[in-house]
């Protein structure tokens, strides 16, 4: 007799949750490959994966720089943030989630998300992005291609 009540309660909870799960499951997100631009579903907690279409390695985590750092390439599907004291030197920065710059960046930037440049930022390098927001006071130098059509076509045969 006692377990009867418990069962009834759990059934009610399950039924109220089910309709919201009808579409994309909560623990899955859709990502777009940086190289072939093809979408695929992955677990929300995934940190790295190999694209199932072009077999390229992809990182999903956000990257944050708070000090000087020199790298050849920075690539992630997450958001790249360069904080006030951050100073990033890289040949290429490719980000899927966007870029936030409050410090200094030297290198060419390709972003598939919005690039936000703070008023104290300094960027030397070319920028390709669908959208950019710049605060008054930023120091900029480079070739900029900004707009919804700015992103390059998928380079299927490109090797890095």
């Amino acid at each position: 007799m006692r377990p009867g009540r418990t069962v009834r309660v759990s059934v009610q909870v399950f039924m109220s949750v089910t309709p919201s799960l009808a579409g994309v499951p909560d623990d899955r997100i859709t990502i777009v490959c940086l190289y072939c631009h093809k979408p695929q579903e992955v677990g929300r907690k995934t940190l790295t994966l190999t694209c199932k279409f072009c077999s390229k390695p992809l990182k999903l985590q956000d990257v944050r720089f708070t000090a000087y750092e020199a790298r050849r390439v920075i690539e992630t599907l997450g958001v790249v943030t360069v904080e006030k004291k951050g100073n990033v030197v890289a040949d290429r920065i490719t980000t899927g989630g966007g870029l936030v710059v409050r410090g200094r960046v030297k290198g060419n930037i390709l972003s598939f998300g919005v690039v936000r440049v703070g008023p104290e930022a300094e960027i030397k390098g070319d920028i390709t992005a669908p959208s950019i927001a710049v605060g008054a006071g930023a120091i900029l130098e480079g070739y900029y291609k900004v707009g919804p059509d700015a992103a390059p076509e998928p380079a299927g045969s490109t090797t890095s």
Partner: protein, 140 residues
């Protein structure tokens, strides 16, 4: 509100106006129509949403809401609003870009960007790009 606008921009080129040539003014120009040529001023230039500007501009401050092709130089600041469509090289002490603005070209922004330019030089340092031609790309 209209009075404030008039004080800031005493010169207005109307919606149905088309101007070709060289223009200089002191305070400010609000461009609502079409302009082709060259603008030289220490004042402000406001290119409104419906305006089309195809010119090399040297001004104190430039606000772009409409469509602009050409090289821009501002001693103070350039503002690209959300609706701005800009193609050309820009040089200014300060740049403000609203999310949604579309533009391509070389950008040189900073306190030294305008100072380092030799006095009386063409708006774009180096070889000036003819109007109507896309800017040179660094990379393929």
């Amino acid at each position: 509100m209209a009075e404030i606008g008039n004080q800031e921009y005493p010169t207005v080129l109307g919606h149905d106006a088309v101007f070709k040539g060289e223009l200089t003014f002191e305070k400010g120009l609000r461009l609502n129509g079409k302009f082709e040529g060259k603008i030289n001023t220490a004042g402000r230039l406001h290119v409104s949403k419906e305006a089309k500007l195809q010119a090399d501009v040297e001004a104190g401050a430039i606000v772009v809401e409409g469509e602009v092709t050409g090289n821009l130089v501002a001693n103070d600041r350039i503002e690209l609003k959300q609706s701005a469509r800009y193609e050309g090289d820009l040089r200014a002490s300060k740049l403000v870009v609203d999310e949604g603005a579309v533009f391509s070209g070389h950008v040189t922004v900073g306190p030294e960007a305008v100072k380092s330019r030799p006095a009386g030089a063409a708006p774009s340092a180096g070889v000036p790009r003819p109007l109507g031609q896309p800017p040179m790309l660094n990379k393929p």
